[in-house]
Every structure is written in structure tokens, then in C-alpha cells.
Amino acid sequence: MADSIQAKLDNYKTASFDSRFPNQNQTRNCWQNYLDFHRCEKAMAAKGADTTCCQWYRRVYTSHLLGLG
């Protein structure tokens, strides 16, 4: 399980199509993944589990987020 998540993270190219946000306005997509990342980190830390799986959400919202440079 951890291996395949790491493999997915290594093979990450860019955010793929998310059917929850099929239209032109992707603002909510960025916001949702940002929220999911922080919630995932918080939940995993509370359980004491590995937070590597949360990195997927971070990659997705980073692809969308403005003003990072």
C-alpha cells in the first residue's frame, strides 16, 4: 500500500481530470484539495500514522495554486 502510494507520487505528472469539477471554473478544485491535504495531515497525525499518502493532495493543489514562486 505504501509502495504504491510512493509509486503514484513518483509518477505524478500533473493533476488529472477530477469529475467532481468538470467545468471551466477550477477554483473549488484547488480549495478542496488544499482542505483535503490539511485534514489528511491532521487525521493521520492524530492516529500516529504515516502522512505520506497526504502528499498526493499537496501535489494536486500545488499544481493549481497561484503565487507559489
Binding site: 481530470f17 471554473n25 499544481s63 497561484l66 507559489l68
Partner: protein
């Protein structure tokens, strides 16, 4: 880019623009044929000495000039809807590039891997070397790999702008606080020009867009060097 006295579209550099060109040719041909027919009939009407003043009804011709225009409209609508749905196809992009409009320049961000970001200002005419295009050249072009589906997220920092590149068939409004998505594929390497397409103040005409498409290896070299 556009050239002086140009009448038609710029050459298509993406599959969607090719489709739009063909659809435009098809529809314009229909428009020319209808105009020619109408002008011919007007000319006939005005150059005859024959008159008939007792017309009461015209059932047959009414049928014809109702059914035929309906068929013409369907002949235009079907290709139009086809292109519309083609533009909406889900293509899993290989790269996400963000274009952010400011007064009066663009910022391009490539944040899938490293945080590569740069501003793109127009080169003022007094600094333009000989042979370059006036009001179209920029100091840093937006580079992208050819033959890869690209997702662009367009936004703005201050007022409305619009990111347009005619040869790719792209025009997307840059709205502050909103991420507008557009996807395209560039079929050939080359340099493509566009201009800001939403009035945004004094220098609205002086914030052009230049896209340079490269084979993937060269694009990767550029992005490694620039990060």
C-alpha cells in the same frame, strides 16, 4: 502571427483550431451562397417589365422557403455542436501552466515539480532589435512542450484580463479570484503570438502573449536550466 491586410484566420497550430477553421469555411460558404442567391433575385426583380398584381396565395413556395432554410440551419448546427463537444473532451493533461494577468504584464507559473515562475513584459519599441515584431515581443516567452495535452489555469491579480492566442484557438478570461481552465495540444514547434483581450487600463494594448512550443527534450532542458 497576424500579417498586414490579413483577411482570414491565422494558421491553425492545434487540432481544435483546425476544426474551427473548417467549420468557419463551411458556414461562410453557406452565407456566400445565400447572399449570392438573394442578390441575384433582387437583380431579377428590378430588371423585368413583367408584372402580375393578382397574387392571392402561394402555398407551394411558402413550403419551400420554410423547409429549405430549416435544412440549411441544421446543416450549420450539426458541425457546430460537433466542434463544441470536441472542445469539451476530457484529455488527461501532461502539464499544468498558470497564466496570471497583472496591470500590465503576464506571470507564468509551472508548479507541478519545482516552483518555476517568471514575469513576461512587452519589449518597448525603443528597445526592440531590428526585424522583431512591434508590440508583440516579450522578454520571457511562455515555453511549452509540443504534442502534449496542456492544461492552462488563467487568473488575474487585479482587474479583468483575457489570455488569447488565435493560432491555438484559445481565448480565456482572466478573472481575479477565479481559476479558469482551458486545455489544448500544440501540434508543431514554433512561436505563437496573442494579445490581452479584455480592457484592463492604460496599457491594455501593450501586454502581449508569446507561446513558444518545443520538443519535449528541449522543454525539459529549458525548465531544468530555469528552475
Amino acid at each position: 502571427m497576424a500579417h498586414p491586410l490579413q483577411l482570414g484566420f491565422q494558421d491553425a497550430m492545434s487540432p481544435i483550431m483546425e476544426e474551427l477553421l473548417h467549420f468557419h469555411d463551411h458556414t461562410l460558404m453557406i452565407v456566400f451562397m445565400i447572399s449570392a442567391m438573394v442578390l441575384y433575385i433582387i437583380m431579377l426583380m428590378m430588371t423585368t417589365k413583367l408584372t402580375y398584381t393578382n397574387t392571392m396565395n402561394a402555398q407551394e413556395v411558402e413550403m419551400i422557403w420554410t423547409i429549405l432554410p430549416a435544412i440549411v440551419l441544421i446543416t450549420i448546427a450539426l458541425p457546430s455542436l460537433r466542434v463544441l463537444y470536441l472542445m469539451d473532451e476530457i484529455n488527461n493533461p501532461h502539464l499544468t501552466i498558470k497564466a496570471i494577468g497583472h496591470q500590465w504584464y503576464w506571470t507564468y507559473e509551472y508548479t507541478d515539480y519545482d516552483n518555476l515562475e517568471f514575469d513576461s513584459y512587452m519589449i518597448p519599441t525603443q528597445d526592440l532589435p531590428n526585424g522583431y515584431f512591434r508590440l508583440l515581443e516579450v522578454d520571457h516567452r511562455m515555453m511549452m512542450p509540443m504534442e502534449s495535452p496542456i492544461r492552462m489555469l488563467i487568473s488575474a491579480e487585479d482587474v479583468l484580463h483575457s489570455w488569447a492566442v488565435p493560432s491555438l484557438g484559445v481565448k480565456t478570461d482572466a478573472v481575479p479570484g477565479r481559476l479558469n481552465q482551458t486545455t489544448f495540444i500544440v501540434t508543431r514547434p514554433g512561436v505563437f503570438y496573442g494579445q490581452c483581450s479584455e480592457i484592463c487600463g492604460a496599457n491594455h494594448s501593450f501586454m502581449p502573449i508569446v507561446v513558444e512550443s518545443l520538443p519535449l527534450q528541449h522543454f525539459e532542458n529549458w525548465s531544468t536550466m530555469s528552475s
